[in-house]
């Protein structure tokens, strides 16, 4: 169950509109209408995205029958973000080493050019 859940969270966050919705919900709870307003899409389309986020456990809906405000479960997001961020940081560490190597290679090439021209 938990691994399926994890995949659902990754899948939910793979979509740019849903990432944007999550970013906006991180500022505070909002109704579906509030969330749909800045997009060129219908309330129904935003509701569909919210359903995916809800099934992943990333958002919950308030009990207020009229407004049903959407609430971001920041802790769930935090766990996932930490995993991906950690993975990203490891890749970044590798690539910084590659940056340094590429600089050394450039310096070696310059030296070689100078030897050839002198």
């Amino acid at each position: 169950m938990s691994r399926d859940q994890l995949s659902r969270v990754f899948a939910a966050l793979a979509d740019p509109t849903r990432r944007d919705l999550v970013a906006r919900l991180s500022l505070g709870d909002a109704t579906v209408g509030d969330l749909a307003a800045p997009y060129q899409v219908t309330v129904q389309a935003v509701s569909k995205h919210l359903k995916v986020l809800e099934e992943a456990g990333l958002v919950t809906r308030g009990r207020d029958a009229q407004r049903r405000p959407v609430h971001l479960e920041a802790e769930v997001l935090g766990v996932m973000t930490a995993w991906i961020e950690r993975y990203r940081a490891q890749a970044e560490e590798r690539f910084r080493r590659l940056d340094e190597l590429l600089e050394r290679m450039a310096a070696d090439e310059e030296e070689l050019d100078e030897e050839e021209t002198s």
Partner: protein, 161 residues
């Protein structure tokens, strides 16, 4: 400035894949060489605390590769695979297996794209066998192991249900 080059990670919902994108302030030929010359590759791959010993490296279509990570004189992990395609200076495709999970294999495609100003973008696409394995790979670097991570997630999800 290399400090402005940010690594981007995308975990897709369409396929059990991980995409890593990064730009480099160096021309494509040089970046390709740093990736395919075994002596150069060993200098940057892996975290700083680990050194890499390359044991096989036939960098050509159909060739094989293998390397071992060493920390404080101790072998901590070994990996192997085949070069499915080597097309200088734009593309390398290889299979990738961690010896700790010898039946597992992912397919990795590295694309080297020439950018303006003598810069290069590398896109690495890794495709695992299942979403479950992809997620384990994503979580593999965590200090808390994957199991504790799942337990923590279970707890949180149970609370938010």
């Amino acid at each position: 400035m290399s400090s402005t080059n940010k690594t981007e990670i995308i975990a897709s919902d369409k396929a059990p894949s991980i995409v890593i994108i990064r730009e480099f302030d160096a021309p494509r030929e040089r970046v390709f060489r740093a990736w395919t010359d075994p002596e150069l590759y060993a200098q940057w791959v892996g975290p700083r605390s680990v050194s890499t010993k390359i044991t096989k490296w036939s960098v050509r279509t159909g060739g094989e590769w293998a390397f071992t990570n060493i920390r404080d004189g101790e072998e901590i992990a070994s990996f192997f695979g085949s070069f499915h395609e080597v097309r200088a200076p734009e593309r390398v495709v290889w299979t990738f297996t961690w010896e700790g999970e010898p039946d597992g294999v992912s397919l990795e495609t590295m694309t080297f794209e020439e950018l303006d100003g003598g810069r290069t973008r590398i896109t690495t696409l890794s495709v695992a066998e299942s979403f479950e394995i992809r997620d384990q790979i994503l979580a593999s670097g965590m200090e808390v192991g994957v199991i504790e991570g799942y337990e923590k997630l279970d707890e949180i999800l149970a609370r938010s249900a």
